[in-house]
């Protein structure tokens, strides 16, 4: 709570970047003396923790092998490390601004490296499914205004995206939904009864790993095909339940299927996402129907967008031939590490050392790693070069994309003594480009002089 301190600033309509909901209605109370947020009005439990925990710690802005150095020295070392590597990889990016992401892709392009984002370990399969079947989708405001049938599949927003129900999809009153939740039917499909279940009018519990079969059965029912009577034995869902859901889907006025990692990271993966997207597409034969992956990190959707507009592909991109190539399974980070391909890594706002498979982490320990993070993490601790940076949306402005691709500009609450990701990455990019151009002009002082004369950036 705000105390008697007279140096309290209030930031209205600030944005929370903790999850993909990117709620932009925060009222932040900032203690400018203590450099911390004392209250985040409108925030959910996760958002309150996000704002409360991002205080300014007393730590070096840059370290090389655990020793404090100047930021400039660290930039030089980072650039040299990246330029001298044969297979440098860049990873993370979902918890920083689009402005920083743009610089990161530029670095990867100049050093002919590999770039990948946390999408490859969350909704990557949905990205692949999208490439396969497309997607009927909408912004969240359209759901709020129109959706009379809301289905959540393989997700638990009550705990992962607490304001998804209240702000966008279930309780709000909308243009054609004057009574809010009363005007909607809410369905939850999940393998266990989570804390999201109480909000649902209908709860459907398939056997674990049987999502694809249930989705495919629904596609068949929607198209009027008969199902074999053993569907319940196969999937755990009675035929009557499926038939009822299929009818509800065909007869609603505006239906939406939200889906989570319970679908994308279990048996079937992109087949599951693809089946769900195809179901939503099929339903447009009868009514208006949309689908939407419920994205996790605050700007993972921005990362997909930036990498796509600069390279044509959303994640898992390699520049080693001088142009972008896309191959998930080869150029995705778990694979470039586990296969032992990567010989240097630039990790931005992510902590793979704490959550990647053991083989990948083991390789990460054996190569020079450069990190940009707001906190000390398992990954920063094993880094050759570690930058401590300002937190996006708390200490910096910039752009983030909500899970429905809506871009929002952040408001800074208080200044950080640490530089932001964009500043560090821009400096690394400039130095990397100089070094690459110098190599191009056969190296040495004359090369550098030419670079200085000609560098357009």
């Amino acid at each position: 709570m705000a105390n008697e301190n007279e140096n309290i600033k209030i930031v209205e309509n600030a944005t929370c970047t903790f999850c993909g909901c990117v709620c932009d209605d925060m009222e932040l109370h900032v203690d400018l003396n203590e450099k911390r947020i004392t209250k985040a009005k409108n925030a959910c439990v996760l958002g309150r923790a996000w704002f409360a925990e991002h205080t300014i710690e007393d730590a070096p802005a840059a370290m090389i092998d655990g020793e404090e150095v100047s930021v400039d020295e660290a930039i030089e070392e980072a650039a040299q490390t990246l330029v001298n590597a044969k297979f440098p990889i860049t990873y993370g990016l979902s918890d920083t601004t689009c402005e920083a992401q743009r610089q990161a892709v530029a670095i990867s392009d100049y050093i002919k490296g590999n770039i990948d984002t946390t999408t490859s370990v969350c909704h990557g399969p949905s990205g692949l499914a999208f490439q396969g079947v497309g997607e009927s989708t909408s912004t969240l405001g359209e759901v709020k205004n129109r959706a009379d049938l809301v289905i959540y599949w393989g997700g638990n927003p009550a705990e992962s995206h607490p304001r998804h129900f209240g702000r966008y999809a279930v309780t709000p009153k909308g243009m054609f939904i004057p009574n809010g939740k009363k005007d909607r039917t809410v369905v939850l499909v999940d393998v266990r009864k989570t804390k999201s279940a109480p909000v649902a009018d209908i709860f459907i519990k398939p056997f674990p790993g049987k999502d694809f079969e249930v989705l495919w059965a629904l596609r068949a029912l929607v198209k009027g095909s008969k199902l074999s009577s053993n569907i319940e034995e196969e999937t755990g869902v009675p035929l009557e339940t499926l038939s009822d859901l299929a009818e509800r889907m065909k007869n609603c006025r505006f239906g939406v299927l939200f889906f989570g990692m319970g679908l994308t990271m279990t048996r079937g993966r992109h087949f599951n996402s693809g089946a769900l997207l195809a179901l939503a597409t099929d339903l447009n034969e009868y009514t208006h129907f949309v689908a939407k992956p419920v994205r996790g990190h605050g700007n993972v959707t921005g990362a997909d967008n930036v990498v796509s507009w600069q390279t044509g592909y959303p994640f898992g991109v390699n520049f080693s031939r001088g142009y972008p190539r896309f191959n998930p399974g080869e150029f995705t980070t778990v694979d470039t590490l586990s296969n032992g391909d990567a010989d240097a890594a630039l990790i931005i706002a992510s902590d793979p050392a704490s959550n990647f498979p053991k083989k990948a982490i083991d390789h990460l320990k054996n190569i020079p790693v450069i990190t940009l993070d707001t906190k000390s993490t398992d990954t920063t601790k094993l880094s050759h070069v570690a930058f401590r940076t300002a937190t996006y949306g708390i200490n910096t402005t910039g752009t983030v994309y909500r899970m429905d691709d809506v871009p929002i500009t952040l408001r800074s609450a208080f200044d950080s003594p640490f530089p932001d990701d964009e500043t560090i990455l821009t400096s690394i990019k400039k130095r990397v480009h100089e070094l690459v151009l110098a190599k191009h002009y056969a190296g040495g002082a004359s090369g550098e002089a030419k670079v200085a004369a000609i560098n357009p950036l």
Binding site: D24, D25, F130, K144, K173, W309, R325, V406
Partner: protein, 548 residues
Amino acid sequence: MSASMRIVNGRVYDPVNNVDGEIKEICIEDGKVVDSVSDEASIIDAQGMVVMPGGIDIHCHIAGPKVNAARKLQPEDHRHDVHPGTPFTRSGTGGTTPSTFATGYRYATLGYTTAMEAAVTPIGARHTLEEFHDTPIIDKGFYVLLGNNIFLQNLIREKRTEEFDQAVAWWVSSTKAYAVKLVNPGGDEPWKGKRNSNVSDIDEKTDDDLSPRQIIEAFIKTVNKQGYPHPPHIHCNNLGHSGNYQTTLETMKTAGDMRAHIAHIQFHSYGGELGKNPISKAAEIAEYVNSHPNITCDVGQVMFGRSTIMTADAPLAYVLKGHSKGKWVNADTECESGCGILPFTYQEHIYMHTLQWAIGLELFLLSEDPWRTILSTDHPNGGSFMAYPKLIKLLMDEKFRHEEMKRVNQKALLKCSLPELKREYTLNEIAIITRAGPAKALGLKSKGHLGTGADADITIYDVMDDKEMMFSTPRYVIKSGHMIIENHEFKTDFTGKLLHITPEYDKKIEEVVQPFFENYYSIEFSNYAVDDRYLHDHEIIQTGINKV
């Protein structure tokens, strides 16, 4: 590095200044064309070459949410057409939906230096501006989609004309747009709210007592009254449907003698019965355009081969999905727009596709005023902008046209007048439909010509008999006085600038708009308007000059 230069010995095509192929010196200083430069200026010898202002694309889809969705959708579109970087330029991928960097460089390699993204939702303006920052060389702007904006429709319905004028200006200013775009006005609500239906007639009234014509009229009036540099850019109702030329004529008649721009008019020039194969009504459409100097249009030529359909006309994309049977994207934007995307291929042997190809060429060849019938393929809907050189050859070379006609559906050729048309475009006319004409229609007074004070956006082509080769390989491209391409090679990178307008509005309109936002949008009102950080280099084009 914007040096002074003197281009000598070149045959200059500068229709604005009545220069038609004369040998003339062009001097450049500080990014502008000037009367003279000092002797120290570098000399470009354009002996045997043609000098034109940089090309201007008045209607294309190159940046923003729908374009990026189309990129994400089609890895197969990029893989076969890579765009390697150079020490100065970034890499990327091509196909019908190139990455941002490839888009800018590829326009430059055709001698184009300005391009207008033709459809952006207000809420997607930020995204578009971010992509523009990563789209090199060319100057660019975008048209903001307002024709299906629910709040603005409410004002029209309630006849709150003064507030409507203010709100349109607010929306254009707040998004940093260049012009107002209408797409299938009135069609979004049936699509989103009435089980994927559509409006079918310009005078059809939806439940809420508002017809497409009323919407079109309201926008034409306000934009003309306030004198925006470019009139409303209209994608008419019934795109692609047989018999739709009547809707197009009615749309143009709605304008009376006020300025209006009809987008990709080829797609709106079909006769015949709804649901059956169309016939050409190019002659009827061309006649109306020819005799009404208030109307400008771009053709939206179809070129055979791969394309990507991307449109705010969601019902149309759904109809096409029925034909292609492949992957399809629908994307609704709250209170503002719909959107449909799908990969598509135009094939010579298909009646419909040949007829579309032929109607586009007919419209060019029947046009009596090249200033107002402008070259476009509605990139990437009718085909990629990379097909412009081939399109220019089709217009300049009758023999080539007849060769091409042998390869297409012959039944379709019987339903149009293309085989009888002998006309060949001259270089001066090409300079008009690709440079001077679009600049004039856009109200860009310092572009599209080479007179004193013009932007030094200049392309120099080797003269060749094969016009496709000639227009795909300029020897020099100069942008804002920078030598970008010299002897066919990129010499430097350049960001280009944003072109936008800032029509004035009464701040009080925000109080009228805000309550609607609080009820029906999912982002906060104060986070909606785009702030100046997104501008990078920019130029505000003056509003109010063309007031009527």
